[in-house]
């Protein structure tokens, strides 16, 4: 950051490097995790996500759940102000949900609220949501990630001039260059924020970003693991478990991946350690299912070691499945991040040892999405599944047959049943048990080869404090400040 201010005090202005532009500034339209990394500083929902995966009250001061688990009654916090100075009214909340569900005008913007039967605003401080079916995970859809509260008066301008209630307000967006935010003076938590100005600088290239950091052109950036040594001494380093799931997976509707033994054989053949060393310079946590240790209690430990490398066993399994000499297949990876083709190269080498000949096909990200992800036209692929704050979403999305994003085409009745039942379970301990069982199933059934949750290595100015890590991508600037 540039110089100090007049009295020699450090200016409370930060420059944070971000890999890419946000897709939308309108929080209801945005879907890219990179967008939330920035815009969550501007928006709040009824609840706020916490660093340990739990929720804390935000615009809703408190709530009550009816016996049948269907009716949520929220008590709205007083005197929460939008960036434009207006106080948040229950009409704004109604407006927000109407907009998301498409009930008043236009198409629905989100399918998260398909389970909502009705919304009501019985008085100025109270907001009521009625569900069609109980869902223990429902509160998770009430954060700014899924339902940021926005003012009705800003209709039509949510993307160009976004207004929210968060600790920072929108100043200027220069596509491809940066996004500037400024302190929200009327923020309801009077102590916060400390910073006067936050600039998110877009820079896709890690190497350049590192140099920008060294040149003090940015204050905070993720650095590539292989260059950590260069910055370790001069900067604060935080290693954050990304809560993402790096998988090498297969199309389980296709032969031979239909056969669980083939999947297990592959699991035994792949050397996670090598991948972690070569691709992440060791900065990654091996995992055994979709869940990462970042999720705290929900995480089932030990699964990561189940498929310790064992070529003999792998060969046996392959033989049992009827492929004693292996087979030929293709791994299709996206070119947008070199990580994938690098992993693929290790896979090729690893699987060659058990007789599986793998051809690498590199396609552009757009093609990967269209053909592999949505088209399900592939044999093998590797991808990093973005982390989410809710254990349910982590396990359900991409995997469960009742989710449209299940591009593995994984099918397991027990798993599906657990995921259905857990929603009706209100008790957290029981939920945890169910989630842990689900993780075991994924592991036993080799839903995919779970590699690792790689760490993001944040390097920041030594004078910066108050940085928080979430189990999803969010640069929370609310408590950040420069010290002497």
């Amino acid at each position: 950051s540039e110089g100090g201010n007049v009295d020699g005090e450090k200016a409370q202005e930060i420059k944070v490097r971000i890999n890419d532009d946000p897709d939308f500034l309108d929080p209801h339209l945005a879907t890219a995790s990179i967008s939330y990394q920035m815009i969550l500083n501007m928006f709040e929902g009824l609840f706020a996500p916490e660093t340990d995966g739990s929720l804390s009250p935000a615009i809703a001061e408190s709530y009550e759940l009816s016996e049948d688990g269907l009716t949520y009654t929220f008590n709205i916090r007083d005197n929460v102000k939008f960036h434009n100075g207006n106080t948040v009214k229950v009409e704004d909340i109604t407006y927000t949900f109407d907009r998301l569900m498409g009930t008043k005008n236009g198409d629905p913007l989100s399918s998260n609220f398909n389970n909502v039967a009705s919304i009501e605003a019985p008085d100025t401080d109270t907001f009521v949501i009625k569900l069609k079916e109980p869902n223990s995970n429902f509160l998770y859809s009430l954060t700014a990630l899924q339902s940021a509260i926005i003012p009705a008066s800003n209709e039509g301008k949510h993307n160009d001039n976004p207004i929210g209630t968060g600790p920072f307000k929108f100043v200027k967006y220069s596509p491809g260059a940066n996004l500037e935010l400024a302190k929200h003076e009327d923020y309801w938590d009077e102590k916060l924020p400390y910073l006067d100005k936050v600039t998110f600088v877009f820079q896709s290239d890690d190497q350049s970003a590192l140099m920008a950091l060294k040149a003090k052109e940015v204050d905070l950036t993720g650095v590539p693991a292989n260059r950590l040594a260069e910055v370790e001494n001069d900067f604060n380093i935080r290693k954050q478990n990304n809560n993402s799931t790096l998988v090498v997976t297969f199309n389980q509707e296709r032969e031979p991946f239909k056969d669980v033994r083939v999947r297990q054989a592959i699991n035994y053949a792949i050397n996670k350690g090598d991948i972690i060393d070569a691709v992440f310079s060791g900065y990654a946590t091996p995992i055994g299912s979709n869940m990462s240790p970042a999720m705290g209690d929900y995480y089932k430990d030990g699964l990561q070691d189940v498929y310790a490398r064992n070529i003999e066993k792998a060969k046996e399994l392959l033989a049992e499945a009827g492929y004693p000499d292996g087979f030929s297949t293709k791994i299709s990876v996206s070119s947008h991040n070199d990580m994938y083709s690098n992993i693929a190269q290790v896979i090729v080498e690893n699987l060659r040892e058990i007789g599986i000949k793998v051809e690498i096909e590199v396609v552009e990200w757009g093609i990967w999405l269209e053909r592999i992800y949505f088209g399900r036209d592939y044999d093998m692929t590797t991808i990093d599944l973005t982390g989410r704050p809710s254990a349910y979403e982590i396990l359900n999305d991409y995997i469960s047959t009742n989710d449209s994003e299940n591009f593995f085409r994984f099918k397991n009745a027990e798993f599906d049943k657990i995921m259905a039942d857990v929603l009706k379970e209100a008790d957290r301990d029981k939920q945890i048990q169910m989630y842990q069982r689900a993780q075991e199933i994924l592991n036993e059934d080799s839903a995919s080869v779970y590699i690792a949750d790689y760490q993001v290595l944040w390097a920041s100015d030594k004078e910066i404090e108050g940085l928080k890590s979430y189990p999803f991508w969010f640069h929370d600037m609310s408590e950040v400040r420069f010290t002497e």
């Binding site: 879907t31 913007l109 052109e217 757009g366 999405l369």
Partner: protein
């Protein structure tokens, strides 16, 4: 006059063909911009809504006609990814790319032409051989690698240089120079290598012609032969080459902006291609080709100023 009219017609025809090629290429290009933008988290409902909003459900020829109509009126449409007018996005990025290109051009011109003359005067001497070897080496180095090496050896060692990102001129002139000098050098070095050779060859070519002998036979001294006659005549072929430079420098900026993380048009272009942001890419490509074709058009006109054989035809 007929010459100029013919050039103008050629200019228009070329631009029309360019627009058709650009548009068609994007039609056959696989990949759906909306899906790319929304990524794996895409919600079917969102996808459908967006598609309708952006008019991507229209038939192709209508999309093309609309686009061309827009081009003519200066409206390049809205970017899908940034949902903002392409012209605005271009305007944001242009200062970077134009500054870079201009600095590069200046470096190339002030180095290549004197160097070319210098070497031409010493034809077949040792310096000619040395320069010719250095030239070829300069042409052979991949520009981005040259950029990497410059970063490694100059950028990291001298704080004057900003090795990533851009400092606007309005903020600091020295800062802007520090940010642009290395990338400009990266593009300029191979260009100088090629261009000074052209200058040298053009001059040697002229020196072989009969009229030079006539001038010498009048008792005109070598200095005048070179600077009044030969150089003036060589300018015609040299100009052609320096016309082509625009295209090459622009091409150079695309890669180099990537190496130095400069937020210019080139960087925007590359990301937009992978995002399949059709309106934006088409806009950028049309803009760049327009500049290139336009400069060549100007060069053609300049010919007629320099060369009476064309002017007075």
């Amino acid at each position: 006059m007929a010459y100029i009219i013919r050039r103008i017609i050629l200019f228009v025809v070329t631009m029309a063909t360019v627009s058709l090629i650009t548009f068609s290429v994007f039609q056959v290009m696989p990949g759906d911009p909306i899906r790319i933008m929304l990524g794996t988290e895409a919600d079917e409902t969102q996808v459908e809504t967006l598609k309708k909003q952006l008019g991507l459900d229209q038939p192709l020829h209508i999309q093309y006609m609309d686009w061309v109509k827009g081009l003519v009126t200066g409206d390049l449409g809205d970017s899908i990814r940034f949902s903002r007018p392409v012209t605005e996005l271009l305007a944001d990025r242009l200062p970077v790319t134009i500054s870079l290109a201009l600095i590069t051009l200046i470096i190339v011109v002030i180095v290549a032409i004197p160097l070319g003359i210098f070497v031409a005067k010493r034809q077949n001497k040792l310096s000619d051989v040395v320069f010719s070897s250095v030239t070829q080496l300069g042409m052979a180095v991949p520009s981005f690698w040259l950029g990497m090496l410059l970063i490694l050896y100059l950028g990291m060692n001298f704080s004057f240089f900003t090795i990533s990102g851009y400092v606007p001129w309005t903020q600091s002139v020295v800062g802007a120079l520090g940010a642009l000098l290395l990338p400009a050098l990266t593009i300029a070095i191979p260009q100088i290598a090629v261009k000074f050779r052209y200058v040298r060859n053009a001059i040697l070519e002229q020196l072989r012609l009969d009229y030079v002998r006539t001038i010498r036979s009048k008792g005109i001294t070598e200095k005048f032969v070179m600077y009044k006659h030969v150089l003036r005549n060589s300018m015609i072929p040299i100009l052609t080459v320096f016309g082509l430079i625009t295209a090459e420098v622009v091409a150079g900026t695309i890669i180099v902006e990537q190496v130095f993380s400069l937020p210019g048009i080139g960087q925007l272009l590359i990301t937009s291609i992978s995002y399949r942001d059709f309106p934006l890419v088409q806009g950028i490509v049309m803009y760049i080709t327009f500049v290139v074709v336009f400069i060549n058009f100007i060069v053609d006109i300049l010919y007629s100023v320099l060369d009476p054989r064309i002017r007075l035809n």
